[in-house]
Symmetry: C2
């Protein structure tokens, strides 16, 4: 039964992989990314140091993999929020609120993992590309809402997406989901079409 | 002449200190904060490794000192921008634009040092306090502008300050000073008082 065996191996690898990412995220939250070592990650994940090195060459690589897993989860949540509404303005608002809640929750779980961990890995094209996916999702929503007259058209959708992406990170510091809702109100007020002179 | 001698020693210490911070910032920009070692910093600053350890115990401490020096410079620039105008709304706009330019410039010089390096040093009260100074400056301006009827009063000035502080970080990704100006336009539109129903 080589196929079943392969599946067992693969499931085991996936379990170890996920345990390593969870352990690293917890350690980084406690100590900051500069203070975490491969030995600590192995110990916290319950595996040997040599085994860890079969999965990842260094701490940066672990954090990049953790980041990938997080972003994939975020994109899934944001696409679900987007698809709950039909109206472009409502889709935009739903996605902004969902992304604000992601930052709000993340800050409570992983306080010291940067919102955009690409900053820890200069020049990594893979990380840069992954981070762009969320910006692209926002830009497409803003383009639709702008064409529907619900968002200003005097500033390019890409710049509006940058504004949304960064301002939503403020949700990490906010005390409640109501405050996240107020933040979305502010952002939407910024995006509103200017009254014609 | 013990006094003069003391001054010479102090000037020398200051020169070494500044050279270490410059070297560390350059290395972090090239390699990311996780990949920088004390040996590399010493070599880049042109001093011995043992000398470096007389100044700083580890890389985190170097980055915290670098952060302090940066924030002090930023506060100086923002206070100068604030004091060029009298009107609360103009003061706010001048400070937002100045802070946007700081992020825009910083991104070109130090791409991989986080805008808020406190993230690298969990639980460091000193870093957290330093970062709060800029938020406090923004909050005071927003309070004045709100009292003058130039900024919305339905959301607390502290939350408005968070919104400004984070959204201005988008300036790091923007291509030009004109784009920074457009970002400030967006932020101010978000802050405008809501029309009374």
């Amino acid at each position: 039964m080589p196929k079943l065996w392969d599946e067992t191996i693969e499931a085991h690898r996936r379990t170890v992989h996920d345990a390593v990412l969870d352990a690293a995220a917890t350690l980084v939250a406690e100590r900051g990314p500069l203070a975490v070592t491969m030995s600590q990650i192995a110990a916290a994940a319950g595996i040997g140091r040599a085994t860890l090195y079969k999965y990842f060459p260094d701490v940066q690589a672990v954090l990049v993999a953790w980041h990938d897993r997080e972003v994939a989860g975020h994109l899934h949540r944001l696409a679900a929020a987007r698809d709950e509404a039909e109206d472009p303005g409502q889709r935009l608002e739903a996605v902004l609120y969902a992304y604000g809640l992601i930052h709000h929750d993340r800050a409570r779980r992983h306080r010291h993992v940067p919102a955009e961990p690409g900053i820890l890995v200069p020049g990594d094209e893979h990380v840069a590309r992954t981070q762009r996916h969320i910006g692209d999702l926002l830009r497409d929503l803003l383009t639709d809402a702008s064409q529907a007259g619900q968002v200003r058209d005097d500033i390019a959708p890409g710049e509006l997406a940058d504004y949304c992406r960064y301002s939503l990170q403020a949700a990490a510091d906010l005390p409640s989901e109501d405050a996240v809702r107020r933040l979305v109100t502010l952002i939407l007020a910024g995006l509103r079409p200017e009254p014609r002179a």
